[in-house]
């Protein structure tokens, strides 16, 4: 549980040496850009702006190419997320089981819209399109953990542990 108010420093600060090691670990593989971006975001929580030049240099790409790839894919972020990322499924099977109401509840409970982070830095809310849990709809991910058969009460129970009562 996190104190309301102060943003939390939940992700490590930029360190060039760390980033370089992460990128170089991917550089030898064919098609290294996506693995490198995953490694960077896995460590820093997002792809810091400083990484663009570094990726371009190390992988022999233009900055525009690197930037183009980062912006094409919804998963890659250029700003730090909250401590937890809650992704609520918006696709059809979840719609059939009330995901619209669940999403509305989540937004009002957290006081944010999709793509936003709570003021205390605890939770970032994102839409997602199918989690392969369509037989236990509606579904969401909290970071890498899948949840199903959600309703407002279950959402509150799961998320209040993250944002406080």
């Amino acid at each position: 549980m996190s104190a309301a108010g102060a943003p939390q420093a939940s992700h490590p600060d930029w360190r060039e040496s760390v980033a370089l090691a992460l990128v170089r670990a991917s550089a030898a593989r064919p098609g290294p850009l996506l693995p490198a971006l995953h490694a960077l975001q896995g460590h820093f929580g997002y792809v810091p702006a400083q990484a663009v030049q570094l990726l371009a240099t190390e992988l022999n790409l233009s900055r525009a190419e690197v930037h183009g790839v980062i912006t094409f894919y919804d998963f890659f972020r250029t700003t730090p997320p909250g401590q937890r990322i809650v992704r609520i499924c918006q696709a059809e099977a979840c719609q059939a089981m009330g995901s619209a109401a669940l999403s509305a509840h989540a937004k009002s409970r957290l006081g944010i819209d999709f793509h936003q982070t709570t003021a205390n830095g605890a939770v970032t809310l994102e839409p997602v399109y199918c989690l392969g849990n369509c037989a236990c709809a509606p579904a969401m991910l909290i970071d890498e953990r899948l949840y199903g058969r959600l309703d407002a009460a279950r959402f509150d129970a799961l998320v209040s542990a993250e944002v406080g009562p």
């Binding site: 593989r29 064919p30 098609g31 290294p32 850009l33 996506l34 693995p35 971006l37 995953h38 992988l59 190419e65 183009g68 790839v69 094409f72 894919y73 919804d74 998963f75 890659f76 992704r87 696709a91 059809e92 099977a93 979840c94 719609q95 059939a96 089981m97 997602v128 399109y129 199918c130 989690l131 392969g132 849990n133 369509c134 037989a135 236990c136 709809a137 579904a139 991910l141 890498e144 953990r145 899948l146 949840y147 199903g148 058969r149």
Partner: protein, 519 residues
């Protein structure tokens, strides 16, 4: 020692399987009962998850859906001896949902510990690969062709024909790529197979490599499947250690290497050429065809790109023979299809059956009707680009051609059920929204037209005189259908126009409106 199974499948975990597994271990220790816990895959009876099984002399007995709160009464009631209980489902194999299935691709799913290679071998694992190692590449391709296997990723293209092209194209390096992007709503068979029986996919990919002459494989996995990522990586490292992968597959002296790559949240990367762009490290934009990926695919080399289920079906074809597989099914749809029942159904889950079942048999006999208890109004088949079928068409047979004859699409075999509270205008609007959101941006009709579509639907709903807006909508759909490079733009009219055709009242239209058209 009593063996208890609790699934590790992420859908089972999503409704409490980990908590139940932990509590069983603790309660057994407290009561001094010797329990060995195995985390198996899910049988795909998702309304019963978490489904706990106890091994008894007569077989595995099932209890579900189990919560932590149920455990005292289960222990008190001697469920470890397979005793009766309100949650008891009898012998797992006798549960009618499962008993009446024909599980070929999913033969081991639920049965075994997904990561135990010993379990895998004990249940016919690697038999197909062993056979393949004794065959010529051409004979392997022939077997897959004779079996009648058609791609399960959506387009239903014959796998053997694709492989023949790759085999016949000379190159120093060829690739096998597994499309594990499974972006369609209502589908989860790829996820289950990867989490619950990963060696089957690995075996299928090695056989594909032998068949087409490829030594390197990639699995392109969506990021939305973190459990599958863990399981696949662990299974691959075990397979390397056991010599199933690497420089000498099962001691044959033939090489096959395999690596999983993560996608990054782009639906369009499920389309094969966009997927290859993404694997190469670029934006996932569609490539012009030709050349086919089979001739110039990954890094410009011949590439067999197939869906998870297509590849995972190859081992059973090799192990049991092409005729065995081909003898299931109807018409030109041979073998079995792992159907996914999802959305508003009472008993959602995985049903692997020979092609030829009727939609209503699935929805009512397997699915048990709606989850809400209200009437089922429509089913969307084949993902977000698939048609909405009204109840009057629930007699459609599950067969690629039968669906096509009704202007619908069977696709990856996902069925999403909706009850009578669904508003079809909002589903049609969503289809355009999704297209706008996921468009790769290469063609104007898709990039711009999808956003126009949302606006036209809004105007159609608001308008008193609807003819003009409906005509605009039809024109727009036609432009999308004919002016799009791939099926994202090309098929978005299908859900939209089927919704209007079958449910005109939701758009304020009368059924007799002459402008209502089928996609």
């Amino acid at each position: 020692m009593i063996t208890v199974y609790v699934p590790r499948d992420s859908a089972a975990r999503s409704v409490g399987a980990d908590e139940v597994a932990l509590a069983i271990t603790q309660e057994a220790a407290r009561r001094n009962l010797p329990v060995q816990l195995v985390r198996n895959g899910s049988w795909g009876l998702f309304w019963l998850e978490p489904l706990v099984e106890v091994v008894t002399p007569g077989g595995r007995r099932a209890y579900g859906p189990v919560t932590v709160a149920d455990l005292p009464s289960l222990f008190d009631g001697h469920f470890l001896q397979g005793a009766a209980h309100p949650l008891a489902q009898g012998y797992t194999q006798e549960i009618s949902y499962l008993k009446n299935q024909e599980r070929l691709t999913f033969a081991r799913v639920g049965l075994i510990d997904p990561l135990s290679l010993a379990d895998y071998r004990a249940h016919e694992g690697l038999v197909g690969l062993q056979r393949a190692l004794e065959m010529t590449p051409s004979a392997i391709v022939d077997a897959v062709t004779t079996a009648g296997l058609r791609g399960r990723g959506g387009a239903a293209f014959p796998t053997g024909i694709k492989w023949r092209t790759v085999l016949n194209t000379q190159a120093a390096q060829k690739y096998v790529v597994c499309n594990a992007d499974e972006g369609d709503s209502g589908t989860f068979s790829d996820r289950m197979l990867m989490e619950d029986d990963p060696y089957t996919l690995i075996e299928g990919m090695v056989i594909a490599g032998l068949a087409v002459g490829a030594t390197q494989g990639y699995i392109y996995l969506r990021f939305e499947y973190p459990d599958a990522w863990q399981v696949l990586n662990e299974a691959i490292s075990t397979a390397y250690a056991a010599g199933v992968l690497g420089a000498s597959v099962l001691g044959s002296g033939r090489r096959f290497d395999l690596e999983v790559r993560l996608g990054a949240g782009a639906y369009i990367c499920g389309e094969e050429t966009s997927l290859l762009e993404s694997l190469e490290g670029r934006r996932g934009q569609i490539r012009f065809k030709p050349p086919l990926p089979a001739i110039a695919g990954l890094f410009g080399q011949p590439t067999a790109i197939n869906n998870v289920i297509s590849l995972a079906t190859v081992p059973v074809i090799l192990a049991r023979g092409a005729d065995f597989y081909r003898d299931f099914g109807v018409g030109r749809s041979r073998g079995t299809l792992p159907i996914q029942l999802a959305g508003n159904v009472a008993r959602g889950g995985l049903v692997e059956k020979a092609f030829g079942l009727r939609l209503d048999e699935l929805l009512y006999e397997y699915g048990g009707g709606s989850a809400s208890g209200r009437a089922l109004r429509t089913v969307q088949a084949g993902g977000p680009l698939g048609a909405y079928l009204p109840a009057a068409q629930f007699d459609t047979v599950l067969d690629y051609e039968a669906f096509a004859a009704r202007g619908a699409m069977l696709g990856h075999g996902g069925l999403v059920a909706f009850d009578d509270t669904v508003n079809m205008a909002s589903m049609a609007r969503y289809a355009f929204e999704f297209c706008a959101l996921e468009s790769c941006g290469k063609c104007t009709p898709c990039r711009i037209g999808s956003t126009r579509g949302v606006e036209v639907i809004d105007r159609l709903l608001a308008a008193r005189h609807k003819a003009r807006e409906l005509e605009l909508l039809n024109d727009l759909c036609e432009t999308l259908q004919h002016g799009s490079l791939c099926a994202l733009g090309g098929l978005t009219p299908l859900p939209v126009q089927s919704a209007i055709a079958h449910f005109p009242e939701d758009f304020g239209l009368s059924p007799s409106d002459s402008l209502i058209r089928r996609a």
